[in-house]
Symmetry: C2
Subunit: 191 residues, 2 copies
DNA sequence: GTCTATAATAGGATAGAC
DNA sequence: GTCTATCCTATTATAGAC
């Protein structure tokens, strides 16, 4: 049961977490070694165990929790704002574009789902995904979309985002991700 | 430059490749160890190097080539058949459903793209993905879809397939993949 | 809080017997 | 064609000095 870590949640730890996030999202769980983290951060292996007593499992969980908090704030929260649909969807799409760096950066959820990450990490990211789908469906309903189709439309939109990111990265063609984002936005505004 | 392997491409090798395919598609490249393969197949490590002189890189490439051939035969080829759109798209969707075992089995392309697979393997799978996108777009045009929108529709459909598979697996909910497949099929037939 | 040193195990790959 | 034995490196994790 990996718990979050020692008391002083200071700046050094925050910087460390940014590096860890970058490593895990590109490599997934298994591919990231403590040695990689040590090299990447300049910290000795033992120092890493000071920040993360639970070792690699602990690192993955903390990274997932941090990423989830960020996505909730930047991608999901705007969907509930008391504005029109164009603004809600526009904010989500812009946040997604930034989150994935225009198709450059992989999705942590996808990376962790594939490589066999610890159950706690996977559960954290699954909950995030569920919240995103629910928030998008609710936003559609709240802005006068057909309620019976909202859930399916939300699922299709998030699927397209995730799939387009994977395909753009497989083809090494970021432009196709950005273009698909624009079409997804247009489709979500239709009706 | 890992080349394909020794001359006698017999049954034992074929069975071995099936196991390898299962391992790589679920774990990606890095997560699969020679020891895993040895355990999974019952063969000693040295025996594996008899079949794959190039080691792990060789295994990944041969698996990718085999998977690509299968996808070309089952998913892509039917898109060029001289029948109506419903039949072409229906055949593709059915093949995709079978290929991913109704949302149970991960996508080799996604797995290999994430974990850093050797360049040759990635190139092989990228070419496959390009062919799939092109064949679907062509099928739409050949069955009287608007030519200027065909490429975008094809990209959206394949993105949805890949994204839905990832999401269904992340949520541990295969039914959502199957349901999304049906909606993708319906959308491709509209017009 | 960071380091060196070290344990114990698992990794990819090869040599050579049978 | 499969095996045992082996090599070397990398891995996760810990102990303990500073």
């Amino acid at each position: 049961m990996p718990t979050t870590a020692p008391k002083p949640a200071n700046d050094a730890r925050e910087a460390l977490l940014d590096r860890l996030y970058a490593l895990f999202r590109t490599g997934g769980f298994e591919a990231v070694s403590i040695g990689d983290v040590s090299r990447e951060t300049g910290l000795g292996k033992s120092s890493l165990y000071h920040y993360f007593p639970g070792g690699k499992d602990d690192m993955a969980l903390v990274v997932a929790e941090r990423a989830a908090a960020r996505v909730r704030a930047l991608v999901i929260a705007p969907l509930g704002a008391p504005v029109d649909r164009a603004r809600r969807i526009g904010a989500m799409i812009a946040a997604v574009d930034a989150l994935y760096a225009g198709g450059e950066a992989p999705c942590l959820i996808a990376a962790m789902t594939l490589s066999d990450a610890p159950a706690a990490t996977r559960a954290c990211l699954a909950a995030l995904l569920r919240d995103w789908l629910a928030a998008l469906a609710e936003a559609l309903v709240a802005t006068d979309a057909a309620p019976d189709a909202a859930e399916a439309r939300a699922f299709a939109a998030v699927s397209r985002i995730e799939g387009a990111l994977m395909i753009a990265r497989a083809l090494d063609d970021r432009a196709r991700f950005v273009a698909e984002l624009a079409r997804i936005e247009a489709d979500l505004l239709r009706d």
